[in-house]
Symmetry: C2
Subunit: 165 residues, 2 copies
DNA sequence: AGAATTGCTGTGCAACATGGTCAGTATTGT
DNA sequence: ACAATACTGACCATGTTGCACAGCAATTCT
């Protein structure tokens, strides 16, 4: 065995995930061909990663902008002490709220939301700040996204670390 | 036709996307069965949404925490005027930087990053703030995620809007 | 050392899904 | 009334899936 942390991804796992990232609709068979391993191996790896919770599935990736929700905004909320759960719940009820994190530091909650237009965004922000336990908010609009959500570099590093024996 | 905005998603599109969100590995045939339409119809809808850029694909969804990257942190960067591109480029070169947005408001760039441990996070943050054009930073650590990235509510609204004739 | 375990390979098989095409039908637009 | 568009239901050849099997190598246990 590798000896070190055991239940970590090895090079093959990482290469498989990279392959699937690039061409997600590949079947198990194609993957096995491209990776140069047997089909059963790929199947076993995918099962194992799924069991471990690493590979959660293959959800459709939607482009909100293409769906009409061209605006993204972020908000940092400061809330009344002990109201995190209550506020989170209310935020979760707003369709346009796509993500909420509780954070350390000045703000307490960090919110990502989308909207169709400036007017729509105004409405969404108003809805968010209308949550009673919210004391102070500071919002900003995303102008561009120099780095879109990605995991690839980490996978590549894993693949590089484990492979070059 | 619907009469209104034409190139919008209709109820069937939305229901298809919802279905795929719930069970992403469903084949075209299964989808057609569950939606009660012909296979060709599903195929046509998926092709159309793909052409329009709405449906970008089916990338594997990975759980970074399960992969060992249990910590997520956010940073707001204030940078020297006109250096956005330069800074973005440097940030993109850092593996642990998973997302960067340029924003309005006080901060200029908003960064999401991950790390394996506190020590690792320290290192990552140091790397980020070491970018020369960065003037001021404020980082916070994600303690929890009351609302994980989601699109579902928007799809459900679409499905509800178009369907109930 | 010898035995057992584990992981990968390569094969075979039946069941099923895929992409393609085609004709028939309803609905919408001119 | 005619053309265009969208959906249906069927067909086909091909490829893929899930499963089980035996052979092999490396590693770990006793």
């Amino acid at each position: 065995m590798a000896g070190a942390g055991e239940d970590a991804l090895d090079g093959l796992d990482a290469r498989l995930l990279l392959l699937l990232s690039d061409e997600p609709r590949l079947g198990v068979l194609e993957c096995s061909r491209r990776l140069g391993v047997a089909r059963g191996t790929v199947q076993a790896r995918m099962d194992r990663m799924a069991r471990r919770g690493i590979l959660r599935g293959f959800p459709p990736e939607l482009d909100l902008a293409a769906m009409g929700y061209g605006l993204t905004a972020f908000a940092v909320l400061e809330i009344s002490q002990g109201q995190r759960a209550a506020v989170s719940e209310r935020l979760a009820a707003i369709d346009e709220v796509c993500e909420v994190h509780a954070t350390t530091g000045q703000g307490d909650l960090f919110v990502r939301m989308v909207a169709r237009s400036n007017a729509d965004l105004q409405r969404v922000i108003d809805t968010v700040v209308a949550v009673p336990e919210v004391r102070r908010t500071s919002t900003s609009i995303a102008l561009s996204t120099p780095v879109a959500p990605r995991v690839r570099p980490l996978l590549e590093r894993l693949a590089a670390e484990s492979a070059p024996e």
